[in-house]
Symmetry: none
Subunit: 423 residues, 2 copies
């Protein structure tokens, strides 16, 4: 079954509010086997809403609307629904009971006449109770088209969806549905990964594969039926080709994968960050239970901090500069010593926008992994703005650690443009 979602609201079209409702609805529909064919965002205007409903009615049998249900004069969804269906607005006993109960409990003042605006629905429509707000949702079934209208306030929308809508939708016929599988990669850019996989893709021309790049790597998504032997074969071939860079097939967070390994083996970690400025520590602490394997870190932004808190030699900074491979190595070793950890990571680089020189351009970064085997340092020039530099650098050094823990470091096919820096 396919569905269209219409989000209503001037605050969405002006960009003041990011529409998280539609993504939430799509994800929930997706998990029920219902595909969102398209999403629309339209203004708080009756003609715009009616026009959108007309277009949608010709394409799907079910439409979910969010927004524009409420007590104020810019809430026009109910009026638009009545006009679209050519029905009167009435307060049924059911909707009046629901809404007056909320008014009573919240101590709101019922308007003269005894009918709050939120109780008015198109004739024949069913109110959907809203346990966390006042205005009920609306279910309106026309001949061959069902409209479900939900409030725009996220927790009210979710409450009504979970309480009433999901059960209703489950009654519709369900299609068989393909499963989506993810392969999370790090340390290889999208174009290069595509090049690696191209022969496989070419030999399975109807297989569905998609690439989702972010600062942290590329997620590969395969769509298919596990029951289908050809899909399984395709999946195996992709996994094999991507394996040097694949850290997980179900968990997208590299810090979570690293934490799992460290925790299982009773190992621990600390960090010494310059250009990443606390981002690596922050990503590690994001993992619940990180205190079992993460001891802490130093954000050594100044030279003095590098020297005094991490034991970097002043003469080394003077001779080679703070952004250098030897400083990165000393930072990582210093963190391991200070925090008494087996492993330590460090970063030092020029995130920009200023601070570059001809020899050390903006984007240059050195990062190191200290382990019981010694200290390894790599360098790279990372393009993009300050934000990209910090995120990509954090991922690059975490990738070093993951490869080391996985026993793959020494024979790794580096595909991220980084180079080894010989200490």
């Amino acid at each position: 079954m396919d569905i269209v979602i219409i989000a209503i609201g001037d605050e969405l079209l002006s960009g003041r509010t990011v529409d998280t409702n539609s993504a939430w609805l799509s994800a929930n529909l997706d998990s029920m086997g219902i595909r969102t064919l398209e999403r629309l965002t339209v203004a708080d205007e009756i003609p715009a809403i009616i026009e959108a409903l007309r277009r949608v009615k010709s394409r799907v049998k079910v439409c979910i609307i969010t927004g524009g249900l409420g007590p104020t004069n810019d809430d026009l969804t109910v009026d638009a629904l009545a006009k679209f269906a050519e029905r009167k607005l009435v307060a049924s006993k059911e909707s009046l009971d629901i809404v007056l109960e909320k008014y009573r409990r919240r101590g709101l003042i019922v308007p003269v006449g005894g009918v709050p605006r939120e109780a008015l629905l198109p004739e024949g429509a069913t109110p959907l109770d809203n346990a966390v707000g006042v205005a009920p949702g609306i279910l309106m079934e026309l001949d061959d088209f069902t409209i479900i209208a939900l409030p725009g306030v996220p927790h009210e929308m979710k409450d009504i969806f979970e309480r009433s809508v999901s059960g209703h939708l489950a009654n519709f016929e369900r299609g068989a549905r393909a499963k989506v599988e993810s392969i999370f990669t790090t340390g290889i850019p999208e174009s290069r990964l595509f090049g690696v996989l191209e022969p496989v893709i070419d030999s399975f021309p109807d297989a569905k594969i998609a690439f989702y790049p972010s600062f942290y790597g590329v997620e590969i998504r395969l769509t298919g039926e596990v029951a289908d032997a050809r899909f399984r074969k395709f999946r195996e071939a992709v996994r094999e080709k991507a394996s040097p860079w694949c850290y997980s097939t179900n968990e997208g967070s590299l810090p979570a994968i690293i934490g799992e390994i460290l925790s299982l083996r009773g190992l621990n970690l600390s960090v010494a960050e310059s250009c990443t400025g606390g981002l690596i520590a922050s990503r590690l602490v994001d993992v619940p239970g990180a205190s079992r394997w993460f001891e802490g870190g130093v954000v050594a932004y100044s030279n003095d901090a590098k020297i005094e808190l991490l034991g970097v030699e002043r003469s080394v900074i003077e001779d080679y500069g703070a952004v250098s491979g030897i400083v990165a190595g000393q930072m990582a070793r210093g963190a391991a010593e200070r925090f008494h950890t087996k492993f330590a990571l460090s970063t030092t680089g020029i995130a920009g926008p200023s601070g570059g020189t001809p020899e050390k351009p903006v984007g240059l970064v050195f990062y190191a992994l200290h382990s019981p085997e010694g200290t390894k340092v790599r360098s790279n020039i990372i393009a993009g703005p300050r934000e990209a530099h910090r995120h990509r650098t954090s991922q690059a050094v975490l990738t070093m650690l993951w490869l080391e823990l996985d026993g793959k470091y020494d024979n790794h096919q580096w595909a991220d443009g980084s180079r080894e820096f010989k200490l």
Copy 2:
């Protein structure tokens, strides 16, 4: 002028990715006086893209597309544009120059034939240079319809928009338009802020005011014409009532405001973080030029790190626990000493989901400000998940520092539920 935005991507329709691009574009268009008439989200399928373009063409003269530009086989926007316009795909000299230069600089391997996929555009279309990625944006002008296609990766999309698109759009006719003004507040929840402002709102019944809460505070937005005396009066009244909590009327980042003050006065700052785990350092380093006033920090996640790196007394941790006001105070003082800074901030708390006890529940946090005047400690119980706890705590302690630097700390009307902890 009206515009329609089409976001392309299965990851959007499946709800795996929240579409922040469309909101960013709408907000930028809005500030240029261009209205987003409607937004559409469609699948990574050529017929769906073409069908959407046909519908849009009948309604507006300009359409912006995001997503589906890239090197892989699920990047179909360019193919769809060529089919829609009935043009061939060609690599013009201009686009080939742009793309090959990126390949060269990034060390990517040019495919056999010498034409990377990203260089192919519909005949006659103009490539829009992408300073932070490979695939250029596309400007395609048809008889009475202009299509601007941008990548889906947010920082690439923003780069091309700011570099090339905004200037192009500015050439189109502009409408007169009301200005939106922001007032950024911190340390007061939305409901309480609304209570403070209610008398003002009641005496200006047609004034437009909206509240946008986040982990970091509430942004108040006023819409009106600066030429209108009544609007100016309303704005003054709102600003006055909100002034105890207002840190800026143009810059939403509290770290940037703090950095400006520190930098002007030649002061410096360090941090000692436990529960916030590097988030404060990371937010400070986000401010370009932070090295002028930020020395660094310690993420002291373990007790040993608090003792060894920050000089917290072991007996104090044993007697009061690591999550205590006295430990917070010693952490801040320790950071100021170790980093030789005038000011230092610290946090220690229970972010959850586990780790709480009846005396020290999940959500409990102590945070401190060390300054030349001495050490001040506050505590609070912060509701919400781990992520909310860390973000709100980071903002609470930055708010302490801002109030201190602004000379408002001692007479502040605390509205965030926090209490002073007497050392």
